[in-house]
Symmetry: C2
Subunit: 429 residues, 2 copies
């Protein structure tokens, strides 16, 4: 891993550069897919699945029988683990429920805010080498807690036209019964536009490769919202001598195995930790199945030393990591001053994996510096807030002149009239 010792602030921008590409080259393809799906519906979905996934499907939707069969095949030990993770995630997301907010801002003027579920949501679960059932938990549980009416799940079929057993099992466990064998751009287009078989959803959630990312961005031109802009996953570890170098190395590697474009930063205030962590990374990497991927990611990874913890903190906020592990003697003070991060993992016994799977927090988090303005997926991501107001006759008599004065100053006479006409009636009663 490359090292940087007390880099000066003008170098930070370069140090923090993400490797995320601009995907404008894929936009014509997205346009084509959306246009085809808009015109031909299901037929286009089948055709694209044949073209991109090399599989001819008989049916897009997963039948109840397929789910039942899949459930039987999932080992009991894995089922128990998933259940435990589900319980924790459920607890943490249910705790995010907020009460209706009601304020009588002045006598007779009652204002309130209520959050309602987004009716129809679409969850995208990537396929590929591994069955990402943990992402099913992370998206389906808050959707369920929020009370979304319709939860649609899309995931690309394997070469035999199947979805992984454990993905079906987890979806079923979370109450999802509308599952499609559909991946990539065509899945996003299908859920955005709706077809004979696919319901049109109000909001799209979930990670994906660059095709899915571009399709989600493209989808925002239609009347659909997306959870957040996506980018390669990131981890920053900030540690001093109180950290265990082997633990730190294992965390860095868990990030590095995600993909060759994974971002891995290790910030330390202890000179010896640089060598120690480096040595541990070298030692641990040799036994990894995804060693090649990890080595590729580590090429862009960095060890950054600051002799002042204050500088380390400043740099941490400057970077704004998706995942941030903090192993410092004075962790409380440091954590208190973190302004920009997606999810923070504190202390030697809190690996990122815990949050990835089972502690309760969500693992769908903003990357690429978007922690500055976006939250990770949470209960509110599946809700929308509506405001209400009711003003009594007396209340309007009090507040009316204020509205009249302001509407008049903005040159909006009809806005003023709507008050005046009511006040006149009240005066004549």
């Amino acid at each position: 891993m490359q090292r940087f010792i007390n880099p000066s602030e003008e170098k930070w921008e370069t140090l923090c550069q993400r490797g995320s590409a601009s995907y404008t080259s894929l936009e014509p393809l997205a346009k084509e897919v959306f246009d085809e799906v808009s015109k031909k519906g299901d037929q286009a979905l089948y055709a694209f699945t044949e073209k991109f996934d090399k599989v001819t499907l008989k049916k897009l939707s997963v039948g109840a029988d397929e789910i039942e069969e899949a459930k039987v095949r999932v080992p009991q030990k894995l089922k128990s683990a998933i259940q435990k993770a589900k319980d924790n995630i459920h607890l943490f997301h249910r705790a995010q429920k907020t009460n209706e907010i009601k304020v009588e801002t002045q006598k007779g003027v009652n204002c309130w805010q209520k959050k309602l579920p987004i009716e129809k949501v679409g969850l995208y679960i990537p396929g590929g080498s591994a069955p990402l059932f943990s992402t099913v938990l992370m998206l389906a549980i808050p959707a369920q807690v929020a009370g979304c009416d319709k939860v649609v799940l899309c995931s690309p079929p394997d070469i035999n036209g199947k979805l992984p057993d454990v993905v079906l099992y987890t979806a079923d466990l979370c109450g999802i019964d509308t599952i499609f064998k559909l991946g990539g751009m065509q899945a996003i287009a299908g859920m955005t536009l709706g077809t004979e078989t696919l319901p049109k959803v109000d909001k799209l959630f979930g990670p994906g490769n660059q095709y899915v990312t571009v399709a989600k961005q493209w989808a925002t031109q239609y009347s659909v919202a997306i959870d957040m802009p996506a980018g390669p996953s990131e981890l920053m570890v900030v540690a001093d001598a109180s950290a265990d170098p082997a633990f730190v190395a294992s965390d860095l590697l868990s990030q590095a195995e995600h993909g060759p474009d994974s971002q891995v930063l290790f910030v330390t205030t202890d000179t010896k930790m640089m060598d120690r962590v480096d040595a541990e990374v070298d030692r641990q990497i040799t036994v990894l199945a995804r060693q090649d991927t990890a080595r590729e990611a580590l090429k862009n990874s960095k060890i950054i030393f600051f002799d002042q913890e204050e500088e380390a903190l400043k740099f941490t906020n400057f970077y704004g990591a998706e995942h941030l592990i903090v192993c410092l003697k004075n962790e409380d003070e440091f954590v208190d001053k973190i302004k920009h991060a997606g999810s923070v993992f504190i202390g030697n016994y809190t690996p990122e994996s815990a949050g990835d799977y089972a502690s309760g927090t969500n693992h769908t988090l903003p990357t690429n510096g978007y922690v500055r303005q976006y939250s990770g997926v949470n209960l509110d991501s599946f809700l929308k807030a509506i405001t209400y107001q009711k003003i009594s006759a007396k209340g309007l008599q009090e507040l009316g002149p204020v509205i009249e004065e302001m509407a008049n100053a903005e040159g909006l006479q009809a806005h003023k009239n709507a008050v005046t006409i009511r006040l006149n009636k009240l005066q004549n009663e």
Copy 2:
């Protein structure tokens, strides 16, 4: 106004069609403005202001002296009205503060969520015929309550290179000291990219014409978020015989005066109300200063009669209005069943104007059916949620095997290792 009697459901889609245009034709201009601002900074901002606003500025920023002078010129009566509105808006938005959420999801596994302010926000206040100081209140107050570090305000200069006194007064009242005489696409580009003078912001807020709308959409390609997609303003009034036809007409007209593309719908369950409201609209419109605009908007407006209140409710949810006024005998039951609306105004003495200016709720709301998935601007719009977790050694001993099992099933060995290495150490201690 056109009338529709008990329209059947298959006609609703057409009835609810918004007049919003696709602005792809303006994208090349947005690209040009962003490219120029990116290359030339302030120089480009001055040049575009000369080109589009026909004014040669000496300085982009508004000086403290200009603000002080403006304050003196605002009439005391207007100042008092603004202060009252500010108090109400402040009360309602402060009430939206949520506490830190902390959950021990299982013994030794502590997860929490904290909301932090988005550091730098940019507020766009449209110019044009009227000084929209109410929008300053609606954006600046929640930004202030949220605790945003840097609040930047841009608004286009008039032909003399000035901003309206009352806009400066209101901004100052809300603690904003970074104000620029800058409008249109160049303002959005400036706040998105940053220049010598303009700070780069994290999130952009505020309404605007089609140029601003396209520029905001374009801005999302850079590392900035926007409040919501914009479209022409909308009002739906649902009323039965308990409503006052003159009040209803005044509300419809207050929406119609906004612009020729304003959406105005009147839904009623009382046949006589159709004639009565129509007659009142005809009577009231004649004295309006913005009569031509209102007449233009009314061309697309509709009166829709349903003899069943249940159908009216269904239609209301189908349309999903930005502003929804409900004047019905059984208002409570109806309001309880509203699923899609931006802001709801209940009863005869709650005109939309109240929420536009002074009751306390926000007037920046989703249009064009986006109420299905977006909230109006609220306190949370200026915050982001970060999650945290700390797991004790004992906690990890409990939860660790669950994580190992799941990581293993997803084929992510390094994720598993990060737990195993810790559990091994604990076992050997």
